[in-house]
């Protein structure tokens, strides 16, 4: 996939160059812009080492990798690691959990900032609007460790939330599998809804005010303005962000889950990326976990391509 797409992109300048003597043109360009290329060199080197290096390293997914022998010395075993993963007792659970958390986040987390932006736009008194913005952006800057620490505290058996519910039998939320997803997605919305609304507010600010005036002259109500002017105005931004979100539906971040989950909640909390982390880094089962990770990356990339293609066909918006 990489080479195919890469050569496509290279094709235009190189074909042009070949007509005038490819090497000479390239060499002349390198010489003329050597100062710029010198600046670009560390950047390209960084990407080659730290991004393309791991892509090369991912071949251990097809090996019985031994760190002492290295990638070149380890035995090749084909698709064995992948077959083991598909046959493993965890496969179904990991897929279900990953998709369930993603879909919950898509259904509740994705629209939340859009709704907030629309509501903020309807506030008439600017100082109040500014206050709501300042306050709702704030949690974005709190570290995930602190947010999860607060969750543990507020949702403990003797925590604030149980105090407020005042039930006879308090729930240990953080130890209950049936509560994990709600807490994960809910705290994510709490932390990111304000920050996520900035993009949409920017898009709303770019809508031509004359559109509103024209609609008002035609007798449009406040709700009709939202429905027929504001929403269509920010639709391209919504579509782009939705494509990106659909493309990552199989990738739930491991950082927050690793802090939040425990063996009691694995049955709903363990996702592909956290499983890779445990098998790979904690248990040093490198080849197997690299295979699971690669499987995940390939699916993500495929989903992104598919989402982009669908969007290009249905609307005018696409990533490329």
């Amino acid at each position: 996939m990489r080479t195919a797409a890469g050569s496509l992109d290279l094709a235009a300048p190189i074909a042009l160059a070949r007509r005038r003597g490819a090497w000479q043109t390239l060499l002349r360009d390198l010489r003329r812009n050597r100062g710029v290329y010198l600046m670009l060199a560390p950047v390209v080197l960084y990407y080659l080492i730290f991004h393309y290096g791991p892509m090369y390293g991912a071949v251990i997914a097809f090996q019985d990798f031994n760190p002492v022998k290295g990638v070149l010395g380890s035995k090749w075993i084909g698709l064995q690691n992948f077959q083991d993963f598909f046959a493993s007792v965890y496969f179904a659970r990991l897929m279900v959990n990953t998709v369930a958390i993603s879909v919950l986040d898509l259904v509740f987390g994705f629209p939340a900032p859009i709704i907030l932006a629309l509501l903020l736009n309807e506030l008439r008194w600017n100082p109040f609007k500014g206050l709501v913005q300042t306050v709702t952006y704030l949690p974005h800057f709190i570290s995930v460790v602190v947010v999860v620490g607060m969750l543990f505290d507020f949702f403990a058996r003797d925590g604030l939330v149980n105090d407020l519910i005042a039930s006879a039998s308090p729930t240990a939320f953080m130890q209950s599998p049936e509560w994990f997803r709600q807490l994960f997605v809910g705290s994510g919305i709490w932390q990111q809804v304000g920050w996520g609304s900035i993009v949409y507010l920017a898009a709303i600010a770019n809508i031509d005010p004359q559109l509103y005036d024209a609609a008002k002259v035609d007798g449009a109500s406040r709700f009709k303005l939202i429905r027929h002017v504001t929403l269509p105005g920010i639709l391209p931004v919504i579509v782009i962000l939705l494509i990106l979100r659909l493309g990552s539906i199989m990738s739930v971040g491991y950082e927050k889950i690793i802090l939040m989950y425990n063996p009691l909640t694995y049955e709903t909390a363990d996702v592909i990326s956290t499983y890779v982390f445990r098998r790979g880094i904690l248990q040093a089962d490198f080849s197997f976990s690299a295979a699971v990770g690669l499987f995940n990356s390939v699916i993500n990339f495929g989903l992104l391509l598919a989402a982009n293609r669908i969007s290009r066909r249905l609307t005018d918006s696409s990533l490329w």
Partner: protein
């Protein structure tokens, strides 16, 4: 106050009701967002024994006590963590901004033959990655960064979206300035550092803030690569205190019956100590952050 420039028609009852409901909803949002933080602040300043016996909401500290803060600041791990985090933030952000500026400048040149292939090479990494394990093996073993500060600084030297934001800003610098400087004999380094960066200060500020906050809040690379406790950043120390509930070294002089109560206030105080610096500077820098998001939202 000022006469409305836009047309405003008389509102129907439904619209007025919606307006009032909206304000009420926003007020509720403010409470839901702020109250957890206020609760933590009040609890951290409370008397441990009173707090342990208290049920329900707090509307102020329960008999003001700085006991928890004294213990937090006497904990050598918190102080080491703070110092280490400051180092990672300063060193990491310096490298980040420098590398990002180099890449953004080079890729904003109009006549570079390899510009599009390099841009593709870079943007592709936003959509496909080799995964956690190959990265871990590369950084930790092949490059021998295991248990060194390098592991927290070098592998994340550039965040691609930030590179794109900065390039967008550089693209807006007029070419004529560039050409004039070149006629005066300036080379690319001079043009970058004497023209582009000074003209793009708001974006440089955005970069410093984005990268700086990311370093301040980061815990995962440290958790994976660091073994030596003396190298731990603050977030990793926090993780032990908040999530593993490890408060022993702050409660050695406390009788076992009080450990729980004091431990709770210590947790709250730790959250405040670790979060206050960012929350205090944030309102003043908010417009820069917002600007960064908006530049990033411009599609090319």
């Amino acid at each position: 106050m000022v006469g409305a420039r836009r047309i405003r028609l008389k509102e129907s009852r439904g619209e007025r009701l919606f307006g009032m409901g909206n304000v009420a909803l926003m007020l509720a949002l403010i409470v839901v967002t702020l109250y957890p933080l206020l609760y933590v602040l009040f609890a951290s300043l409370s008397n441990p024994t009173l707090l342990a016996g208290h049920r329900g909401l707090l509307f102020g500290p329960l008999s003001l006590s700085l006991e928890a803060y004294r213990r937090v600041f006497e904990n050598p791990m918190i102080l080491t963590g703070y110092r280490n985090t400051l180092f990672y933030v300063v060193a990491g952000t310096t490298l980040n901004v420098l590398m990002t500026a180099l890449g953004a400048y080079a890729l904003s040149r109009r006549n570079l033959l390899l510009k599009n292939p390099v841009m593709f090479l870079i943007v592709f990494t936003m959509f496909f990655s080799g995964g956690l394990i190959p990265t871990y093996l590369l950084v930790g073993q092949t490059l021998h960064m295991q248990d060194t500060p390098w592991a927290l600084i070098v592998p994340g030297a550039i965040t691609t979206i930030n590179l794109i934001i900065m390039r967008t800003a550089f693209n807006a610098v007029p070419v004529s300035l560039d050409e004039a400087a070149r006629l005066d004999g300036a080379n690319d380094w001079t043009i970058l550092f004497k023209i582009y960066l000074p003209l793009s200060l708001p974006v440089v500020a955005v970069m410093i803030l984005f990268y700086g906050v990311a370093h301040w809040n980061s815990f995962f690379p440290a958790m994976v690569y660091l073994r030596t406790r003396e190298l731990y950043p603050l977030q990793l120390v926090l993780r032990e205190i908040l999530i593993s509930s490890n408060v022993q070294n702050m409660t050695t002089d406390v009788s076992s019956g009080d450990v729980f109560a004091i431990g709770e206030t210590i947790k709250y105080a730790t959250i405040i100590v670790a979060t206050a610096p960012i929350l205090l500077v944030y309102p003043f820098l908010q417009r820069y952050f917002v600007k960064g998001v908006m530049i990033g939202a411009i599609k090319e």
